[in-house]
């Protein structure tokens, strides 16, 4: 209906341009696959290193059908979400405590900033010593990294809560605890969500790296590495793609949750 009137008023060229604009994200994806396919067709890259898109997608399809890829996928999801859950439980109360006391914040700021700047992957050996080679080590390292990302954002959110709203609540008779619960926590929520989104992406990165190197028998990281070692390139690409879908999906999920729960953010 709208397209029709547009085309009528702006000429068919403009109607087509608008139609293309709506599909531009898909256009990029199609273009990417076309270039990939072109590389294969022209033998620009060794076909052993780069299978055709069709082969890779078949590997993806088969992997999900026979359950092996799905199993690894779910294992990575489980680890990432466990790490993220632990991080939220630790980081949000800690961030609120840090943000509400300037003095405590100044004492701890440097230590947290230092560890946040330290590549978390450098801590794997330390965590291996502490937690052993079990599954929990990967989760612990990922949780550690995600915690730091969330702590800082929550603390900033609490520190930058609008003073007027806190004053308004106080004047209406709210106790300090209620001001914290009813106002400050909600004020910090948009910033906390920024931290949580960064935290979950970070947890996924660490979990996948951990699955590659810390004696894993499952997970996407382990699957990518195994496929590479036996030169099963279609499976390797399929698994990389699955990891991409997971990362993108988690990000999308967080944006949706954020829009639902922090509807006032930026307003």
């Amino acid at each position: 209906m709208r397209m029709g009137t547009d085309a009528a008023s702006g000429g068919p060229a403009r109607g087509i341009a608008r139609g293309l604009a709506a599909f531009s994200p898909a256009l990029g994806a199609v273009g990417f696959i076309a270039v990939w396919w072109l590389f294969c067709e022209t033998r620009l890259v060794d076909p052993i290193l780069l299978p055709t898109p069709a082969e890779a997608f078949r590997a993806l399809w088969d992997g999900f059908l026979d359950g092996s890829l799905l199993g690894d996928f779910m294992k990575t999801v489980e680890r990432t979400l466990s790490a993220f859950g632990i991080a939220v439980l630790l980081a949000v109360p800690l961030g609120v405590a840090l943000g509400s006391s300037q003095r405590v914040y100044r004492v701890i700021e440097f230590v947290i900033d230092f560890f946040r700047s330290t590549p978390t992957s450098a801590l794997f050996p330390l965590f291996l010593v502490i937690f052993g080679v079990g599954d929990f080590t990967k989760i612990a390292v990922a949780a550690f990294g995600a915690t730091l990302a969330i702590v800082f954002n929550t603390a900033y959110g609490v520190m930058n809560a609008r003073k007027t709203r806190q004053a308004a609540a106080r004047l209406m008779g709210a106790s300090p605890l209620r001001v914290m619960w009813d106002v400050t926590l909600l004020e910090s929520l948009p910033q906390t969500f920024v931290g949580m989104r960064a935290g979950v992406s970070f947890a996924l990165v660490i979990v996948v790296v951990g699955e590659m190197f810390i004696g894993s028998t499952d997970g996407l990281g382990q699957r990518v590495l195994n496929a590479q070692m036996v030169f099963d390139m279609p499976t390797m690409y399929a698994t990389i793609f699955a990891a991409g879908v997971l990362g993108y999906g988690l990000n999308l999920l967080f944006i949706l949750v954020e829009r639902r729960f922090v509807h006032w953010g930026g307003k």
Partner: protein, 265 residues
């Protein structure tokens, strides 16, 4: 809302301020400042920039701590008194995570009123305000004037003894400002509430008030208290009366003397 004139008979002292001291940036803002404000009147506070108009009502209402001094409402301390406050920046004062109606309910919930009681009070408030928009929207979905109206309703919900307003209409356009002045008059007519209003608009300060407090430059003292006794409800015609023009001109003169006093060292 019935806009008939209904001022309380005796305007006995309601708010007493004694020996108020406040330093700001190392320099005294208020030194041994004392003030009596009458009950059931609209009092405006007007003065040069930086003289601490807002700071004064913020200290009286307990938002800003004073260095020394004492404030009593009917002889009671701040802790035992119920105050309402309307902020200049409604955007930063309302809770954007609560719907407008829940913003209004909030002070009643804080006071521990029963749900049925809260509903009765909110319904009465909504009826008296003749609200023409949906209170089940979130504040950021409302216009500036509507948000400030919600702020005022929230401040009035727990039936405060005094209503403080800090430049409440300065962020609104002129049309909305005129509408809000009338609303404020209606509320005053209906409740006879003691109101203390900070204004940067002399016309508004005189038009709305029974008394205008003119402040000096810092260290801030009272330059003069000017009464304006025009009958209520006041209308656009009030602005053209000799009395209004005379009072406003007098206030302007006092104000300009204050501004000049500092300019010529």
């Amino acid at each position: 809302m019935n806009a008939a004139v209904r001022l309380p008979e005796a305007s006995a002292t309601h708010i007493t301020v004694r020996g108020l001291n406040k330093e700001f940036g190392g320099a005294p803002l208020y030194e041994d400042f004392s003030l009596d404000l009458p009950r059931g009147r609209i009092i405006s506070v007007f003065g040069p920039n930086g003289c601490g108009k807002s700071t004064l009502i913020n200290m009286i209402s307990g938002l800003v701590p004073m260095d020394r001094g004492e404030v009593r409402f009917d002889g009671k301390t701040l802790r035992d008194s119920k105050l309402g406050y309307v902020f200049q920046n409604y955007r930063d004062a309302l809770f954007p995570w609560k719907r407008a109606i829940d913003n209004i309910r909030y002070p009643l919930e804080l006071a521990g009123r029963r749900p049925a009681e809260i509903e009765t009070r909110v319904a009465a408030l909504v009826a008296s305000f003749e609200i023409g928009f949906d209170l089940h929207r979130y504040p950021y979905e409302l216009s500036g004037g509507q948000q400030q109206l919600v702020s005022i309703m929230r401040a009035l919900a727990p039936e405060p003894e005094v209503l403080f307003l800090d430049e409440p209409f300065s962020a609104l356009d002129y049309e909305m400002t005129l509408f809000m002045r009338e609303k404020l008059q209606e509320i005053f007519a209906a409740t006879g509430l003691t109101m203390v209003l900070v204004s940067h608009d002399l016309e508004e300060a005189v038009y709305l008030s029974d008394e205008i407090l003119l402040l000096t430059r810092r260290p801030t003292r009272l330059a003069e208290r000017v009464a304006f006794a025009a009958p209520r409800p006041r209308t656009a015609a009030t602005l053209a009366t000799d009395e209004f023009v005379r009072v406003k001109a007098h206030c302007l003169e006092v104000f300009q003397n204050e501004v000049r006093r500092k300019a010529a060292p």
